[in-house]
């Protein structure tokens, strides 16, 4: 009956398809033209080709007609094909690991430039560093040889010698030697000025490393600008990935999708190489890692799984649905606390727990009243209720943090416990001194980030507000801004109190302690309390200058004590880490490094 309106609808559809596909078509056809001739001067000929293209197109249409005919039987034996595919998948299952994630490489896979979790994660699978952190390290990081087999540091920790493992080859056959090490670090530092904040810049390689020297084919020496005990931590992180000079020119390269250098196996010496990297509009669509046949440690049967395919989801809840539906073997990063708790009870999946390293902390703008008054800062700090925060927002999957250095790491203390949680008596007395009471409560804006840069930041803010106001002498206005504006406000120093977060570059207290006074957080602590600030910096540098762990721990403890006294940056919580897999997945280590080492993961029965 609806014969005619069908035709009309189709008419419309055709019109729309034509009008818009022409866009896509023309562009694609043009790109053919460009491949046929890159030179605009020979455009005419290419236009000729274009016409011929169109000519062949018509013939193709003819072929298509036949194809369509072919489809009928294709559909007929589709079931057979499907079955075949099923079988093929079943066979491939054991050597293919499908990972679902909400991450995406931010910019590039050039170790000198990548500075995002996922970029580093991929780099770790395809690249190698001189030293590595032993999987499953519990207290701090214990470093094991990787491309270097041994090392020793000078007495005052500013000269480091490394002896390299022999017989390692880059996939193109190049023998790995000391020159590559020197090259890699020279390059990283050399690139710093030309890139925004590539990893080395962020880590401050240029500030730490003075120069690198080749002592022999397999001996290399680092001269540092100052004693620096955490140096191994630096060497173990992705930015120190050794590159093959042939494929990593000194000039800045973006190892971005489509760049042949990005997907070639020969740039690095890792257990995998990047077999496929599709990005759409600056977001990853598909990444496939294949086992690197030249991996130096292949003898020990690494990698355990032949292929790793990453599947990219835009949000945690769809990722959860996917892992439940069995679309992925493994879901890692950003599955929400709620979801992971539910999944624990789901027999079809296995949940892996690990220590986290991501922390969040509360910053006070000391430039103006009220928080230029230390008593007020301490009072508010005392009114915080960290356990409520962790239990309500993170359902216990985050731990209250009483020192900027997270547990499981050298120098972690419980310093802020001194002020207690929801310690309203202290709050009231201090605020009374500062001239606030029920009738005249302390009122300030608490800012949080609203575009999902931090986990459930809005909920955090709500809970914190409630805890503070429970003191009866504090009134909080919640304010929010999306990440860009938030950062702007931070730099403009217009936010009275704001929640901020930190994720470590290298596994060492050295990469946390400085947060108390970091200039880029713009609390103005260093300007308002220079003497305390200098004390802390001094302690910090002392800690850098010794490998004596007890001494270092002691020094960091002192830093914490001053921080408690001043309450300029107040630790709130440390996240825990978890991954969700199918029950038949093994070999996952979620240790303090936060690294996911895919070459250790294997699919069992």
């Amino acid at each position: 009956m609806n014969k005619i309106d069908l035709t009309i609808a189709v008419l419309v559809l055709i019109a729309i398809i034509i009008s818009s596909s022409t866009l896509v078509y023309t562009t694609t056809v043009m790109s053919n033209v460009s491949t046929l001739t890159s030179d605009v001067s020979t455009l005419t000929t290419s236009v000729g080709n274009l016409t011929s293209t169109i000519g062949t197109l018509t013939t193709i249409v003819g072929d298509l007609a036949e194809k369509v005919g072919g489809y009928s039987e294709a559909i007929a034996n589709l079931t057979a094909r499907l079955a075949a595919i099923e079988a093929a998948l079943a066979a491939r299952e054991k050597e293919t690991l499908i990972v679902g994630t909400t991450d995406s490489v931010e910019l590039t896979l050039d170790p000198a430039q990548a500075y995002d979790y996922f970029g580093w994660c991929i780099l770790q699978q395809i690249g190698g560093t001189l030293v590595a952190v032993k999987p499953g390290s519990t207290t701090g990081a214990d470093f094991v040889p990787e491309l270097a087999e041994s090392w020793n540091a000078s007495a005052d920790l500013d000269v480091w010698d490394f002896t390299l493992r022999q017989g390692i080859k880059f996939p193109d056959g190049t023998e790995f030697n000391a020159t590559h090490v020197k090259y890699s670090f020279d390059r990283a530092i050399g690139l710093i000025p030309s890139i925004p904040e590539g990893a080395p810049a962020g880590l401050g390689y240029d500030a730490i490393i003075n120069r690198t020297e080749v002592l022999g084919t397999y001996k290399v020496r680092f001269y540092l600008n100052f004693p620096f005990s955490p140096f191994l931590g630096i060497l173990a992180c992705r930015a120190s990935t050794i590159v093959n000079p042939k494929y990593a020119p000194m000039a800045q390269v973006n190892y971005t999708a489509g760049d042949p250098r990005a997907s070639t196996p020969v740039a690095f010496v890792g257990p995998y190489y990047l077999a496929k990297w599709d990005r759409v509009a600056g977001r990853d669509i598909e990444i496939r890692l294949d086992a690197n046949p030249y991996y130096w440690n292949a003898t020990s049967e690494y990698p355990k799984t032949e292929h790793v395919i990453f599947k990219f989801y835009s949000d945690p809840s769809t990722l959860r649905l996917a892992v439940e539906a069995g679309d992925v073997d493994m879901a890692f990063r950003h599955i929400s606390a709620t979801d992971v708790l539910d999944l624990q009870t789901n027999p079809n999946v296995k949940v892996w727990w690990g220590t986290g390293a991501f922390i969040q902390y509360l910053c006070f703008q000391e430039k103006y009243a009220p928080f230029n008054d230390t008593r007020v800062r301490v009072a508010v700090t005392a009114a915080l209720n960290r356990s409520a925060l962790c239990n309500t927002v993170f359902l216990g999957l985050a731990d209250p943090l009483y020192s900027i250095i997270p547990p499981g790491m050298l120098g972690h203390t419980e310093a802020f416990k001194k002020l207690g949680d929801a310690n309203y008596t202290l709050t009231r007395s201090l605020l009374a001194e500062a001239g606030y009471d029920e009738s005249n409560p302390l009122t300030f804006d608490l800012w949080y980030e609203s575009s999902g840069h931090y986990p459930s930041s809005a909920d955090q803010a709500v809970v914190i507000k409630e805890a503070l106001e429970a003191s009866g002498v504090i009134h909080v206005n919640l304010k929010s801004a999306d990440w860009a504006s938030y950062k702007k406000n931070r730099d403009d120093e217009i936010m009275q109190a704001y929640i901020y977060g930190w994720y470590p570059d290298y596994v060492d207290p050295d990469d946390y302690a400085f947060l108390y006074w970091a200039k880029w957080i713009h609390t103005n602590y260093d300007k308002v309390n220079p003497d305390k600030y200098n004390q802390q910096v001094d302690l910090y540098n002392q800690a850098r200058a010794t490998t004596n762990t007890t001494l270092r721990a002691e020094l960091y403890a002192q830093i914490d004590d001053i921080a408690v006294e001043m309450c300029s940056v107040v630790p709130l919580y440390v996240s825990s880490a978890w991954a969700v897999t199918k029950p038949n997945i093994y070999g996952i280590y979620l240790d303090i490094t936060q690294d996911m080492r895919y070459w250790l993961i294997y699919i069992g029965e």
Binding site: P316, S317, R320, L321, E324, S336, T338, D339, L341, D342, A388, T392, V393, L395, S450, S451, G452, A458, D459, A461, V462, V463, K465, E466, N477, L478, K479, S480, A481, D482, S485
Partner: protein, 294 residues
């Protein structure tokens, strides 16, 4: 002319005796039901401070993500907040935003349309070009951009939504005026030397009112939905204030964990209010459509 007259009469009629709508067939009923829904929700929101069982903003008043029960008829959300209390007052922001945006649209779109179409000539051309440029563009994108630019806040949100819907007012008014302008009695008015603003306000404006009313109600519904959409993308008002949009967003995050009640009820409320306005709009547009009168 008779058409417009009848339109106007119908409108007067409608205003004068709301009840007579019952005699006007299904369209009449649509309007009545729509109005009732809207009024009910507005009333509910106004009364919420007195009728809500718990403080809607207080966390942990109940267990976390508790399904509907005697104590918490609509369950609790991920922060242990009482959904019922949140539902009761959660409409306020949306209503404010959409009301405000409709007002802005009206105050800008209508005069602009009247003016532009009445003056005609190049002025009209230019204005129409600009308006069409906006109109021919995915509204939500504009809204998002502006919302991001202005930052969160009721007024900002309303403005960002208003920008999207001004064109539809402008267009409807303009087309109406262009048709009315040529009508004999307007000509006559001109002939007897009435001032242009008199003609606009006295002769033309009354005749475009009906179509504006229709647009406004539809716009109201759209505004609610857009507001929800903006919140959904994360450009909503600070979370301290209970809001259906936020609850919907949270509900989405916790839907996968089977907490259907967090998303369902706010969702239904939004549908309901949007439905209310849409029904009014649809009913009116049919009642006021001269081509459909016997």
């Amino acid at each position: 002319m008779s058409k417009i007259r009848s339109k106007l009469n119908v409108l007067k009629h409608f205003i004068s005796e709301f009840t007579s709508l019952t005699k006007r067939g299904p369209s009449g009923w649509m309007v009545i039901i729509g109005v009732i829904i809207v009024l009910a929700i507005v009333l509910m929101t106004l009364l919420s401070p007195w009728i809500s069982p718990h403080n809607p903003a207080a966390t942990n008043v109940g267990p976390i993500r508790a399904p509907p029960s005697a104590e918490f008829p609509l369950g609790t959300n991920h922060l242990g907040q009482d959904m019922l209390s949140r539902i009761l007052c959660g409409g306020s922001i949306m209503l404010q935003v959409s009301a405000l945006s409709v007002l802005v649209c009206f105050l800008i779109g209508v005069p602009l349309g009247l003016f532009s179409s009445y003056v005609g000539g190049n002025v009209d051309k230019v204005i129409s070009l600009i308006i069409d440029a906006v109109y021919a563009f995915p509204g939500l994108v504009i809204a998002i951009a502006i919302a991001a630019m202005l930052g969160p806040g009721v007024i900002n949100m309303a403005l960002s939504i208003a920008v999207v819907y001004i064109p539809s007012y402008f267009r409807i008014v303009r087309s109406q005026v262009l048709s009315i302008k040529e009508l004999s009695y307007v000509e006559a008015a001109k002939a007897i030397g009435a001032k242009w603003h008199t003609i606009l306000s006295r002769y033309i404006f009354p005749n475009v009112v009906p179509s504006i009313v229709v647009i406004a109600t539809i716009n109201f519904a759209d505004a609610v939905l857009t507001a929800a959409g903006l919140t959904f993308i994360g450009l909503g008002i600070s979370k301290a204030i209970p809001d259906w949009g936020w609850d919907l967003y949270d509900g989405w995050r916790y839907l996968s964990s089977g907490a259907w009640w967090i998303i369902t009820f706010p969702g239904l409320m939004i549908i309901l209010i949007a439905l209310g306005f849409t029904m009014i709009g649809e009913g009116l547009s049919e009642l006021l459509n001269p081509k459909l009168q016997h």
